[in-house]
């Protein structure tokens, strides 16, 4: 498969690879995909009280396009608002990395991972609000 230079660069030097504390209140974790499908993406967002994404980390099991998509997406959301992150579409990722048609689903996975991480963060926030503080 012929890949773009940008994709290969992200694969070779992935940005923000690693993990955040999944139990922290201000961290939302999205784990999407399935090992049986050959792709699993974990995306974590550390979000402050102003709704700004202070940090983003990923780990990905998947092809080079999946790795590059997740790397790119962490770069896109860092320092941005939750609203901005929610607006990210897979087509933006696919275009930026010039993904071949059979690899579009890898960018869909990255979009799903963002949505899942934000949903997890919101759930935690709602639980926090519901728990009376001592």
């Amino acid at each position: 498969m012929a890949y773009s230079d940008k994709l290969i660069e992200h694969y070779e030097n992935p940005r923000n690879m690693g993990s955040l504390d999944k139990n922290a209140e201000d961290v939302g974790t999205g784990l999407v995909g399935a090992p049986a499908c050959g792709d699993v993406m974990k995306l974590q967002l550390k979000i402050n009280d102003d709704g700004i994404i202070e940090d983003a980390k990923f780990k990905t099991f998947g092809c080079g396009s999946a790795i590059a998509s997740s790397s790119l997406v962490t770069e896109m959301v860092k320092g941005k608002s939750i609203d901005f992150a929610e607006g990210i579409k897979n087509t933006m990722i696919a275009e930026e990395l010039a993904l071949p048609p059979v690899k579009i689903h890898c960018s869909v996975l990255a979009e799903d991972a963002i949505k899942a991480a934000i949903a997890d963060y919101r759930k935690k926030q709602a639980e926090r609000a519901a728990t009376p503080s001592e």
Binding site: M1, Y3, I8, Y11, P14, M17, S19, L31, V32, G33, A34, P35, A36, C37, G38, D39, V40, M41, K42, K59, T60, F61, G62, C63, G64, S65, A66, I67, V102, H105
Partner: protein
């Protein structure tokens, strides 16, 4: 001495042309350009002599008589001709065929093509070792079974089927036995007579010969059987394969067969096996969670097919670009389906996505293998650092306990 990159470890896909083979071919592309069918002048005689010498060389490799060798364009054609040709000619006897799910596409798709002509095909499963058992074949035979097609060695996992035992079963039940021997040539000793093989598909480019040339062994003598041609014309090759013979290609096939026969006894296969073993031992010393796919015991000396759990195959191939190999991962295929061979032998889909195939060859060196071990080790470790699955496993999570959203 620094190794020259990239390193070729994909000798199941094709092999480099042996320079000795090329040397023997070249005169037939220049001064000896005659048509082997020209009976009236020395150009034709020279060409014909070369063709007949090659026929003897191919026959010698599999223990056949030269008259039983039909030249074709390659093993794909040989599989088509053997299977479709035998099925059609003998369709009055019955329309049932037995094959296995691990066969090459050339066999599987020839069988599928016959389904549209009213043939019924039984696709046997393999055992978890990747082998087809003679008892399975025997149990599948029916009164209307005309043909059984089982490969000698598998092109992905390198497993070697008990061909002699299956041949005995087929002969006893009067079923024509077709064997795709492409991967086994020069790696396993073959005797078509002792193995009761009726048809055998051969290709030059998996044994250091040129691409686009192969042969079909068609047994003569008792018990008699016949096949029907697929290509009609000037009646070459006993009428079974018309078309002007590509003399230089045939010379290349014959020459490759000669060296393949030598490889069985001159220690080449021992050397290749030692390199293959060195690769596996090096990798398994450095890395955990590795799994061999298919029988280790009944395996070609040059094949290593293993899964690097938690590391997706295509991602690994991108990381080890300096090594040419292949993967059973879905992400490498246009269909996004993992290897049908691995699935047929019951390898977990998860592991199929992480499988890699290495094929060692005549021209690989110890230095290349050591380089490969280092590079693969480094990249697998790196990709595992990146793998959420590896992280979960390190945390003691059972991956099967997670509700994955399959898509």
């Amino acid at each position: 001495m620094a190794v020259k990159l990239p390193i070729y470890l994909d000798n199941h896909a094709t092999t480099p042309l042996d320079p000795r083979v090329l040397d023997e071919m070249l005169p037939y592309l220049t001064q000896h350009f005659g048509n082997a069918a020209s009976r009236n002048h020395s150009f034709g005689w020279t060409a014909n002599e070369a063709v007949e010498r090659a026929r003897e060389q191919v026959a010698a490799l599999i223990g056949a008589d030269p008259k039983e060798i039909i030249f074709t364009s390659g093993a794909t054609e040989s599989d088509n001709l053997g299977i479709i040709g035998a099925a059609r000619f003998n369709s009055k006897k019955g329309k049932h065929i037995i094959t296995s799910k691990l066969e090459h596409k050339a066999v599987l798709d020839s069988c599928h093509a016959l389904e549209s002509e009213g043939f019924e095909i039984t696709f046997l499963d393999s055992d978890p070792d990747g082998l087809v058992k003679p008892e399975q074949v025997e149990a599948a035979i029916r009164p209307d079974t005309v043909l059984c097609a089982i490969m000698m060695a598998n092109n992905e996992i390198g497993t070697i089927n008990p061909i002699a035992e299956i041949g005995a079963v087929c002969r006893r039940h009067n079923v024509i036995f077709h064997v795709d021997a492409v991967q086994a040539l020069g790696r396993v000793a073959i005797d078509v007579v002792a193995m009761n093989v009726d048809l055998m598909a051969i290709s030059a480019h998996k044994m250091y010969g040129p691409k686009g040339i192969g042969a079909l062994y068609v047994r003569r003598g008792r018990p008699r059987f016949r096949i029907e041609p697929l290509i009609h014309g000037g009646g070459h090759e006993r009428g079974l394969r018309s078309g002007t013979l590509p003399v230089h290609q045939i010379v290349g096939l014959g020459s490759a067969a000669k060296y393949a026969l030598e490889a069985l006894t001159n220690g080449e296969n021992d050397r290749i096996k030692a390199l293959r073993d060195r690769l596996w031992e090096g990798l398994s010393k450095n890395l955990d969670h590795l799994f061999i796919n298919g029988s280790w015991e009944h395996r070609l000396p040059n094949n290593l097919n293993c899964s690097f759990a938690y590391v997706e195959g295509e991602a690994l191939m991108m990381g080890i670009k300096a090594i040419a190999c292949s993967s059973g991962s879905a992400c490498t295929s246009a269909s996004l389906e993992p290897s049908y061979v691995l699935r047929a032998l019951g390898v977990d889909v998860e592991l199929a996505h992480t499988s890699m195939r290495f094929g060692v060859g005549r021209f690989n060196t110890e230095e290349e293998i050591d380089f490969a071990i280092e590079l693969i080790t480094e990249k697998v470790r790196w990709l595992r650092q990146m793998s959420p699955l590896y992280e979960l496993v390190q945390e003691g999570v059972d991956l099967k306990s997670i509700q994955w959203a399959a898509h």
